[in-house]
């Protein structure tokens, strides 16, 4: 389902890129200007509706041996440019540590989880890890500001799963919508080792607990 969404997005993207700038400013009859729902990108000639954030997919939780589903993540690079990367490009032919936090600017994530991985980056590199990435259901602007505030260096790539598509595709959602904390649907905390796109090691927490997913835990296991 993530692949379908990716294709739909690319289709829309190509449409937007090939439209002349003049067209983009006009209300095009192709686009229904009345509906302000997420289907505002649906094009009459395209049979695929574009509903990203409301994909009603029920995915089994990822486990060791699974290939990671594809999804698009975003981040700000060192030149402060907004970039996207597919999970496939991020993980193919590489050894990647991927760890997820429920939320930027929340305590365990800020004080222990992220700094822990930043501190152990050299140790992970020594064990042949190519990339260490932190992923959260926050937008890329927030991830960048959070990283800057904690003075995290470029050893950890801060990835935004802005619409939660990747988190949903691997079945790791943490639904805090009815809790007064004010976080909505986020990701469960986890740390995984991914080799060429396949999960080799997975330490998945219940909710936001912090028992098995620290940098130390993962370093011991790889």
């Amino acid at each position: 389902m993530a692949a379908t969404a990716a294709i739909s997005v690319a289709f829309a993207a190509r449409k937007l890129l090939t439209s002349s700038p003049r067209n983009l400013k006009q209300p095009l009859s192709l686009f229904s200007s009345q509906k302000r729902s997420s289907s505002f990108l649906s094009i009459s000639s395209a049979p695929l509706p574009l509903r990203f954030s409301t994909l009603p997919s029920i995915s089994a939780t990822i486990s060791v041996g699974d290939k990671l589903p594809d999804a698009t993540l975003s981040y700000f690079d060192s030149a402060d440019e907004l970039q996207t990367v597919s999970v496939a490009d991020l993980t193919s032919n590489k050894k990647v540590i991927l760890f997820a936090v429920p939320g930027a600017f929340t305590p365990t994530c800020s004080q222990k989880h992220l700094p822990g991985f930043a501190a152990k980056a050299a140790d992970f590199k020594a064990k042949g890890v190519d990339t260490i990435a932190c992923i959260s259901v926050n937008d890329a602007f927030v991830m960048k500001a959070w990283k800057k505030g904690l003075k995290i260096g470029d050893d950890v790539l801060m990835l935004s799963d802005g619409n939660g598509d990747f988190t949903r595709a691997i079945g790791c959602e943490l639904d805090l919508s009815d809790k007064p904390v004010g976080l909505g649907v986020r990701s469960r905390r986890y740390a995984m080792l991914v080799e060429n796109g396949v999960v080799k090691l997975l330490n998945l927490e219940e909710g936001g607990a912090f028992n098995v997913s620290s940098a130390e835990d993962l370093l011991k296991a790889i």
């Binding site: 690319a10 190509r14 209300p27 997420s38 970039q83 990367v85 926050n138 602007f141 500001a145 004010g182």
Partner: protein
């Protein structure tokens, strides 16, 4: 396929103008001048910007709209997202620098609200050094903006559901002035300078 998408995202201005094109005939919120904001969005609360520790000690209390609006003269503005370009560089500063003028006109509070969690909004407000002048609130699940029909889907920009850029002058819960940008990337009618003239 991924490259076309990343090329698109590299030009966020393309997205913004695209969204502007879709919304060129931006219609209306469910409220208008004269509406009662409190009854239009009753049983909705906002979360005051706070650190996690403050949240714990307040038992994650929320603020009902009546507390914010009843019997008060309030200037409120909403924006798509903390830490994003126009919001940080122009929108908030246009209210921050006008705070004395607002007070002179009898405004009790200036409120900024966005579909973000209260911890993110708090860190952002502190970064902008705007917390003294402006009260920041998070509408984390969009319930406030949904009631006012001011939500916009920015999933194409990987931002998810957000709010439009808007401002309002509200007196004892009644909307006296309401400004909504045609596109969230625009910054004309919703600035602090504009609404200062409308009070």
């Amino acid at each position: 396929m991924a490259m076309a998408f990343s090329a698109l995202l590299k030009r966020t201005s393309v997205i913004n103008s695209a969204i502007g094109g879709f919304q060129a005939s931006r219609a209306f919120a469910s409220v208008a001048v004269g509406s009662d904001l409190i009854s239009a969005s009753s049983d909705v609360s906002l979360q005051r910007a706070r650190s996690w520790d403050e949240g714990v000690s307040s038992k994650f209390a929320t603020t009902p709209l009546t507390d914010i609006f009843k019997g008060k003269k309030v200037v409120i503005f909403g924006l798509p997202g903390a830490y994003t370009g126009v919001c940080s560089a122009q929108h908030v500063p246009s209210y921050n620098r006008n705070i004395d003028s607002f007070k002179r006109k009898g405004i009790d509070s200036v409120i900024c609200v966005a579909v973000n969690d209260p911890y993110t909004i708090n860190a952002w407000a502190e970064k902008l050094q705007a917390k003294e002048a402006i009260e920041f609130y998070g509408d984390f699940d969009g319930s406030f903006h949904k009631k006012l029909d001011l939500m916009i889907d920015l999933s194409a920009a990987l931002l998810g559901p957000r709010s439009h850029r808007w401002s309002a002058y509200v007196d004892d819960g009644k909307i006296k002035a309401l400004n909504i940008e045609k596109a969230p990337s625009e910054f004309d009618v919703s600035s602090g300078d504009v609404i200062l003239q409308q009070i």
